[in-house]
């Protein structure tokens, strides 16, 4: 075990860095997608509601590994081979980010929708009755209150997304699991390799959830 750490430790740490980078990229766009589709599912507009519903249903109904293959191999094949376009090559990081953003975005939009719906309707009505527009009321009154109830679920979703990056090892992105596979192949020490990788995930995720607890407590103070 010591040998693996001394020889491959640096490589595994870098891979963890890649994992975090991928997770952050995915989460960033997931938040944007989640907010867009979450809002689209609460506005009073049938077309918006239906589009948001389809997005959530499709993404939730497809396993992420399938989504990853589809985005990384399927879409370029469609564009280049079937449609004859000459699109630039997509990197594994880009494809991985798209997958995570779509996948996590769908769950985020549900969290955001539920959070917004948990805010008493009277808050929006009071804001509107003062002459504020729908979006200003949303931004200043409803969303700040919704975020309080959403924070625990959002953090939970962050952790799930961080773990889901391991699925993207299948498209060859050198994140932690992908790298660990190589380490294991080189050393034949399966137990030690996967034990170390498990501990690495555990440490990062534990730190993350501790930070989350602090944020949550701070948000709830004075309430």
């Amino acid at each position: 075990m010591v040998k693996i750490i001394t020889v491959y430790g640096n490589m595994l740490l870098q891979a963890m860095g890649k994992t975090l980078l991928l997770a952050l990229c995915g989460l960033f766009f997931a938040c944007i997608l989640g907010l867009i589709f979450g809002l689209m599912s609460v506005v009073k507009n049938r077309v918006c509601n239906i589009i948001a519903q389809i997005f959530v249903d499709v993404i939730r109904g497809v396993p992420m590994i399938v989504l990853a293959f589809f985005v990384y191999f399927g879409v370029p094949y469609l564009l280049n081979n079937m449609m004859g376009l000459n699109t630039p090559v997509m990197t594994a990081l880009q494809a991985g980010t798209i997958c995570l953003a779509l996948n996590c975005g769908a769950y985020m939009s549900e969290i955001i929708r539920a959070g917004i719906e948990s805010v008493d309707k009277g808050q929006m009505e009071a804001a509107r009755s003062l002459g504020l527009s729908y979006f200003v009321s949303m931004k200043r009154i409803v969303l700040p209150q919704a975020i309080r109830t959403m924070i625990p679920s959002i953090i939970n979703q962050f952790i799930i997304t961080l773990k889901d990056t391991s699925i993207l090892s299948v498209i060859g992105f050198p994140e932690l699991v992908n790298t660990a596979k190589n380490v294991q192949a080189a050393t034949f020490k399966s137990f030690q390799t996967w034990f170390i990788v498990g501990i690495m995930y555990l440490i990062v995720i534990t730190i993350l959830s501790r930070c989350a607890k602090v944020v949550e407590r701070r948000l709830n103070r004075g309430r």
Partner: protein, 246 residues
């Protein structure tokens, strides 16, 4: 009233929720400075009527003209109209994420009606008026029901409205807090504000109303001065209702 100016003109107003007709045919004119109290059994449509007046409910038919603007027209900028029509709700609806002062200054600032100092000064003035100046920094959760409702009234007044709508402002209050809210409303009425009030407080209606409207089944059944409607009702439904509540 001195200036016989019509502030709210309602003609053949209809409102359906799906297949249920809540308002069947409502017509009424409300004058500048008039205090109109709407009474009636629950389900009679009185709250819906009130909410149609600032388009929190979209009417199904008829016309509603507020301050010369027909708000049933789709292209009307309803936010502009609402700036002049304050509303007070049964459940107060103070913004829980903001303290009292920010509750009051939010709309004036967002709508660029005032600078930060002006808005604050106005808010403190209004808080003074409802007797809650010392609560400026408090959050809604730290206030009693009566205090919340007084802040809600003050918040609406910060927009300098011409008209105030009250939707059962005392129904969610503990009995000992009803008086303080009614007092604020009485002062407001005395200041010449045009007010439409849905309430179950018959004593208050008698004391403050210029006109009392009795609604039932989506119609205005009877209207007149408090003496006419509350003391000498003519319609049998009004008599039934008053016997039950008085």
């Amino acid at each position: 009233m001195a200036a016989e100016e019509i502030k709210i003109h309602v003609e053949h107003l209809k409102k359906n929720f799906g297949k249920i007709e809540v308002l069947k045919d409502i017509s009424i004119d409300i004058m500048q400075g008039e205090v109109v109290v709407v009474i009636g059994p629950s389900g009679s449509g009185k709250s819906t009527f009130l909410r149609c007046l600032n388009r929190l409910e979209e009417s199904t038919g008829g016309t509603i003209v507020v301050d010369g603007v027909d708000i049933t027209q789709k292209k009307v900028d309803i936010n502009k109209v609402r700036e002049n029509v304050g509303m007070v709700f049964q459940h107060f609806n103070l913004f829980n994420n903001l303290n009292v002062l920010n509750n009051m200054t939010l709309a004036p600032l967002e709508l660029k009606k005032a600078t930060s100092e002006q808005a604050k000064e106005k808010a403190m003035q209004m808080l003074e008026r409802v007797g809650l100046a010392e609560k400026a920094e408090a959050y809604p959760s730290q206030l009693s029901g009566g205090q919340k409702q007084r802040v809600a009234i003050a918040r609406a007044l910060c927009m300098n409205p011409d008209i105030m709508l009250f939707d059962e402002p005392t129904s969610a209050l503990d009995p000992e807090m009803v008086g303080e809210v009614l007092q604020v409303m009485k002062d407001l009425a005395a200041s010449g504000m045009t007010m439409v009030i849905v309430t179950h407080e018959m004593g208050f209606a008698r004391e403050v109303a210029d006109r009392v409207i009795f609604m039932d089944g989506g119609y205005i059944v009877e209207e007149g001065t408090p003496e006419e409607v509350l003391l000498n009702p003519k319609e049998s439904r009004t008599i039934d209702f008053l016997n039950k509540v008085l």
